[in-house]
């Protein structure tokens, strides 16, 4: 059973999955940032990829989107809507990439060209990939802005990025990503820089667009607090590997990996902790990138570690006593379903 198949949710749109990633590895020189990750996103499904800074989640996303600098070495298999993207040449991928996936960056202010009106930046896609004339592309850009619920899209199309609010800019980014209706959207910390209410609006918009287009969304975030608002499926990354994945409520209610459990416990304490009560923390710090590690990367910080953890890295597999929900855990001693004894 592949991870992609495991990621299938009942009632998902038939046809090839939006994204299937098989044993993806990203290296910067000798240092592995992603150390063999497999992951699937179905059509109409939102998969949240969570993890701390440096866990490799952005490298994974950028590796899938082929947006890493040339110094990064990416191997592994990436299929987008059944299409083997990893075997395409740079030119083939460039010609098809906007039809295959839309990338929504974190900081829309930086990700939009400061000296071009936003309508032109959206219209560029239609000129390039649909052979439209500039006026037609302009009209289409206005239409796309309306699609992301922007009022007076004709006016906004003529504005420059610095003349728009943060939420508007992020909507423009989203409009650009969904313009050619790709089967896959990658949202890379796309709401992190926004204030809470704008963040909620953007999340709601992504939900609506997902329902309208049936695209799958790979959502990279470190904000556990908002994951449940949009995600169907959660994958947790630690030190370049996916250590646990499963349906969002399963993960939140019964985390099986000690790292996931620790993350959730910290969050619970933050939310409901009494003033003055000690905050739960995972001991130690995430490991630095290093080559040739044996054993589980989390072992040195793990309360449940034993000898085997240092010797052999655990494979991502269904845990014992699992409910049939597709859960996968990479742990020699997973937390029992009822919580830690």
């Amino acid at each position: 059973m592949t991870a992609a198949a495991a990621g299938a949710v009942p009632g998902a749109t038939p046809g090839p999955a939006a994204l299937e990633v098989e044993d993806l590895r990203v290296r910067y020189g000798e240092l592995p940032a992603v150390d063999g990750a497999s992951l699937g996103v179905d059509r109409g499904q939102v998969v949240a990829l969570i993890g701390e800074t440096g866990s490799g989640k952005s490298s994974l996303a950028l590796g899938v989107a082929r947006l890493l600098p040339p110094s990064a070495v990416v191997t592994g298999e990436v299929r987008i809507a059944g299409c083997d993207a990893s075997s395409m040449t740079g030119r083939e991928f460039r010609l098809r990439r906007a039809d295959l996936l839309g990338y929504i960056a974190q900081d829309a202010m930086a990700a939009l060209n400061p000296v071009q009106p936003v309508g032109r930046q959206i219209g560029e896609l239609f000129q390039l990939h649909r052979g439209m004339s500039r006026p037609d592309a302009r009209a289409q850009a206005v239409h796309e802005l309306a699609r992301v619920r922007i009022d007076r899209p004709d006016l906004v199309a003529r504005r420059y990025p610095h003349q728009l609010s943060g939420g508007m800019r992020q909507r423009v980014m989203i409009a650009m990503a969904v313009a050619l209706s790709p089967p896959l959207l990658i949202a890379d910390e796309s709401t992190t820089a926004l204030d809470v209410s704008t963040q909620a609006e953007i999340l709601a918009l992504l939900g609506v667009l997902k329902a309208e287009t049936g695209s799958g969304i790979l959502w990279i975030t470190h904000d556990m607090g908002v994951v449940a608002e949009l995600a169907d499926w959660v994958a947790v990354m630690y030190a370049g590997r996916i250590v646990e994945q499963g349906p969002v409520h399963g993960i939140f209610d019964h985390p099986r990996h000690p790292y996931t459990e620790g993350l959730l416990r910290t969050r619970r304490d933050l939310r409901s902790g009494r003033p003055g009560a000690p905050l739960f923390q995972i001991e130690g710090a995430p490991p630095a990138l290093s080559a040739g590690r044996s054993g589980c990367a989390f072992a040195p910080r793990c309360p449940r570690q034993t000898e085997i953890c240092a010797e052999r890295a655990p494979a991502l597999a269904p845990p014992p006593e699992a409910a049939a929900d597709g859960r996968l855990v990479a742990c020699h001693h997973p937390v029992p379903p009822g919580g830690a004894p």
């Binding site: 460039r94 010609l95 906007a98 990700a111 939009l112 000296v115 071009q116 896609l125």
Partner: protein, 306 residues
């Protein structure tokens, strides 16, 4: 927009007036007697006194000052002490020559510097080479470079005329001198801006849209590089129009800089004043034009703080 323009014009006028006043006062600090400069072999004090009266040099400073600026406001730059003709008619052809040289020089430095900068930004391995070229050019005094070019291209290779004069053939070497001296600044600013732009998130967005490298450069990078270069072009045009003294002297280019030096030696005050004023106006005007162009190229600069 109109308000910004009006404000800038008023500031510019104040700047020009300030420069003119300072220049006027400076001329009286410079030791020397224009009358004696005009008639160096005159024996009698009466002759010299006669000249002074003719040139109103016997008047108190304040009266001369008032006269000069009253004339200036009427658009009258006065009469040259030495040439006995109106300063305006004297300076205009010189200004045209300097204008051509300034234009050719700026084109040369933008082409040379821009090319070096773009190469340095695109090919990291070229960057070190460009940096040493920059350093060499920066360390080179203008007159040395000018003489070197004259020696190589004029006397050795006979590719450029070595006799004075001011035609299309004669402009090449002085323009090249200006271009090489100014190029490092453009190379640096273009390389930095372009490196920033190439590693920016908006270029990544353009990659994500499937644009070709060429389209990314053309549509997203170059315009972001243009804006700071424009400011520098404006500054350079302005300052070159006020006279590129060294280069004009080395190549015998009959521009305003050469005139300024000659007039200063002759204590020909009205002409010196005029060259200073023309220079100040040029700096102000070209700065303004550069800023206006910049607003067009980079809309962020339009909304300046009140």
């Amino acid at each position: 927009m109109a308000r910004t323009l009006t404000r800038r014009l008023i500031y510019g006028l104040i700047a020009v007036l300030g420069v003119a006043v300072l220049a006027f006062l400076a001329e009286f600090v410079i030791p020397g007697d224009p009358a004696r400069a005009l008639a160096p072999r005159a024996q009698s004090a009466a002759v010299l006194e006669n000249i002074r009266v003719q040139l109103h040099l016997n008047q108190p400073l304040l009266v001369q000052f008032a006269d000069y600026f009253a004339n200036l406001f009427r658009g009258n730059l006065g009469t040259s002490y030495v040439q006995r003709q109106s300063v305006a008619s004297l300076i205009l052809p010189r200004l045209v020559y300097t204008g051509w040289l300034a234009l050719a020089g700026v084109v040369a430095e933008v082409v040379i510097g821009g090319t070096l900068g773009i190469l340095a930004a695109l090919y990291p391995r070229v960057r070190a080479a460009v940096n040493s070229v920059n350093l060499t050019l920066l360390a080179m005094p203008e007159f040395v470079l000018g003489l070197l070019l004259l020696l190589i291209f004029g006397f050795r290779l006979h590719m450029a005329p070595v006799t004075g004069g001011a035609g299309p053939a004669q402009i090449v070497l002085p323009a090249l001198t200006l271009g090489l001296i100014g190029a490092p600044w453009y190379a640096q600013i273009v390389a930095d801006q372009m490196s920033d732009s190439l590693s920016s998130a908006y270029v990544r967005t353009a990659v994500a849209k499937g644009l070709t490298d060429r389209d990314i450069l053309r549509r997203h990078v170059l315009r972001n590089v243009l804006s700071p270069a424009l400011t520098m072009i404006g500054l350079d045009l302005g300052s070159y129009l006020s006279g590129v003294v060294t280069v004009e002297v080395v190549f015998g280019w009959p521009g305003i800089g050469l005139l300024a030096v000659q007039s200063l030696q002759n204590l020909d005050r009205p002409v010196v004043m005029a060259t200073v004023i023309v220079g100040a106006v040029a700096v102000v005007v070209f700065n303004l034009i550069a800023d206006l162009l910049r607003m067009y190229v980079d809309p962020r600069t339009k909304e300046e703080p009140a």
